[in-house]
């Protein structure tokens, strides 16, 4: 291994190394169980929300007043709700609403929160201003702030996304800032300054990659949390407007009849749990894969490599 470089030409060495690195990455990916499990769950949910609507035989708003609150049976696999709508269909359609809301909120808050956190950590004056604004936003209970924003903006899916993004961004900004404050004191940042790198370059190319781990964990948490908060908002009449299905809507409809129809709360609740578990484990896995330091994986990897070499 040690003497490869000196005997090969430059381009050959590079090709070989690149291939080796790719294989390592593949091995690392598949030895990372939480990543694989999380990814499988997320792909399942994506398929459910984007392909599912074409496979169901009912519409999400089709009422069958005679068949209200039916337990799961052959016609209605997951039963019907209190208006006689097919629960499976509503859950499938609701998946689209809930996942797209959660995903957009997670993406928007991580991008804005990352920018705010990075700049706040780098410029002291800006830090005071931005963090006081964040403190102000965090002082108001999240749901209350979201309701107030929804009241001002009007009940629409886009507005749910905007309102919840405003609610969750300060949390991301805080976490990014605290991680970035540690990174910016490292010698390699000073070394970049000594090289003559601009602040923008240092912030985005050198500080940002080093705060990704906490950011990813926080983003997956926000994805899960925003599905739940959206559900709460829908229940209070400030979320996705009533007849349109979302997991939160269904769950809170079911709450009224929980003693008569357990399926109305169990199935959407189960899906929320699965989605949250899947996203969190994918977040953990992503963090481990992106962190070259991660001990457990490197150990496993080196063992795997050694085993292969011995076999060969």
């Amino acid at each position: 291994m040690e003497n490869i470089g000196s005997t090969l030409t430059l381009s050959e060495a590079r090709k070989k190394l690149k291939k080796e690195q790719q294989q390592l990455l593949k091995k690392r990916f598949f030895s990372n169980y939480s990543m694989v499990i999380g990814l499988v769950i997320v792909i399942f949910l994506m398929l459910l929300s984007f392909v599912g609507p074409y496979l169901t035989s009912y519409g999400p708003l089709d009422l069958e007043v005679n068949n209200r609150l039916q337990a799961p049976n052959a016609d209605h696999l997951l039963g019907t709700d209190n208006f006689g709508r097919d629960l499976l269909t509503r859950i499938v359609y609701g998946a689209r609403a809930s996942i797209s809301v959660g995903l957009s909120i997670a993406i928007i808050t991580s991008i804005i929160g990352l920018a705010i956190g990075l700049y706040a950590s780098y410029y002291k004056r800006l830090d005071q201003i931005l963090m006081r604004i964040c403190d102000g936003l965090m002082a108001i209970p999240g749901i209350l702030l979201a309701i107030a924003l929804m009241a001002a903006l009007g009940p629409k899916v886009e507005n749910v996304i905007i309102a919840l993004s405003i609610v969750f961004t300060p949390y991301v900004a805080r976490i990014v800032r605290s991680a970035a404050l540690v990174v910016r004191e490292q010698t390699y940042i000073e070394a970049m300054k000594a090289q003559g790198a601009s602040s923008t370059r240092i912030i985005w190319l050198h500080v940002a990659p080093n705060v990704l781990s906490p950011l990813i964990v926080q983003a997956t948490f926000i994805f899960a949390d925003s599905i739940i908060t959206e559900a709460a908002l829908s229940f209070l009449g400030a979320g996705i407007p009533a007849p349109a299905p979302s997991w939160g809507n269904i769950l809170y409809d079911g709450k009224l009849v929980i003693f008569n129809a357990w399926w109305m709360t169990v199935f959407p609740g189960l899906l929320i749990i699965i989605a949250v578990i899947g996203l969190n484990s994918m977040g953990d896995g992503l963090r481990d894969i992106m962190d070259p330091h991660y001990k457990k994986v490197t150990k496993k990897r080196s063992k795997a490599v050694k085993g292969k070499e011995e076999v060969a």
Binding site: G5, Y188, Q195, A197
Partner: protein, 340 residues
């Protein structure tokens, strides 16, 4: 001192060389935060570097030595404007570095590079070595991506690393290898001056000598000048052509290496040299032990900063700040003992 053998031989030609960087009366005071209850008190400062002047000649190694906290590293960092100086000038190419900003400062930073003490925190853990080394080239817009890779490969072999290290992450290297990478990063822009902030103090002794010898080879290959900051007398002696001794933010003595080791004049230098272990059994050595503690740089002693611990202190030392003056050829000292 007769037991000391002389290692470097090229010190005699120093006088004829031209000045690369001239540092004049550099001061760096760090303000101390006052508590709310002390609002009527005067603002106090930590006087990290207080009125230091010296010059670095082309192709030489200037060693800066002194105990911890005497301002060696601060001096080095100030030169690159990593820390804003309070006062003073650093003349490079006829321009004062401290007054430059923007593009001009960036150009100077291309010529003056720095190697850091801690090889573990001076490399970005998320970047492959190749990317880390290409970064300075990207910043200064040198070459196409392909050419950059070639330059990196070349420099890797220059500092004694293999090509395959290009794709590795910093945590896959040992301390000595990382310090080589740090060196490669500093060398990649073809600088004229390298500021080395204790580049070997974090390494074990066998690796230290490897790195020091590498530094010597590189110096002749690239025609470099070094500002070598260290607290280790034997390391400094091995690499330096001239040495400046610092104490509490002041430069107390400055002389060519041989001259300094053969004939240390300042009482502090004498004490410092007497603490260097001599590798010979039975050799009698008089150890000068300084009394008292290092005074706080927040409140340095009046007059000569060393008078509180100096065995030869006179009344005059408490009142008057000694000026730097030349005693012999190239041997400067700031001490009242040698006033005639």
């Amino acid at each position: 001192m007769s037991t000391l053998t002389l290692e470097s031989s090229n010190e005699q030609k120093i006088e004829s060389k031209e000045t690369l960087l001239e540092i004049k009366n550099v001061k760096k005071f760090f303000p101390v935060k006052k508590s709310l209850l002390q609002f009527n008190k005067e603002q106090t400062y930590v006087q990290a570097v207080n009125d230091v002047s010296f010059s670095i000649l082309k192709g030489e190694t200037y060693g800066l030595v002194g105990e911890s906290g005497c301002g060696k590293s601060t001096t080095g960092r100030t030169l690159l404007k990593l820390i804003e100086p309070t006062e003073g000038e650093a003349i490079y190419n006829g321009k004062d570095i401290f007054k430059l900003s923007g593009q001009e400062l960036r150009k100077v930073r291309q010529d003056i590079q720095m190697v850091f003490q801690d090889p573990y925190s001076s490399l970005n853990p998320r970047k492959r070595i190749g990317k880390t080394l290409e970064e300075p080239l990207v910043i200064h817009n040198i070459g196409t991506p392909k050419e950059r890779t070639e330059i990196v490969m070349e420099i890797l072999s220059k500092v004694g690393l293999q090509l395959e290290h290009y794709f590795r992450y910093p945590h896959e290297f040992s301390g000595g290898q990382r310090q080589r990478i740090g060196l490669a990063r500093a060398l990649i822009l073809n600088p004229k001056l390298l500021i080395m902030d204790e580049p070997v103090s974090a390494l074990d002794v066998s690796i230290q000598s490897q790195i020091l010898n590498l530094l010597k080879t590189l110096q002749s290959d690239f025609d470099l000048s070094y500002l070598f900051i260290s607290h280790d007398m034997s390391v400094i002696r091995h690499v330096s052509d001239r040495i400046g001794v610092m104490y509490l933010g002041k430069l107390v003595e400055e002389a060519p290496t041989d001259e300094l080791f053969a004939n240390p004049l300042h009482p502090y230098t004498q004490a410092l040299l007497s603490a260097v272990p001599v590798p010979k059994s039975g050799a009698k050595k008089e150890r000068i032990i300084l009394e008292g503690e290092l005074p706080s740089p927040m409140n340095p002693p009046s007059g000569c900063v060393f008078h509180t611990r100096c065995p030869f202190a006179m009344d005059r030392c408490k009142m008057e700040v000694p000026m730097k003056k030349e005693i012999a050829n190239g041997h400067h000292i700031a001490c009242h003992l040698y006033d005639k």
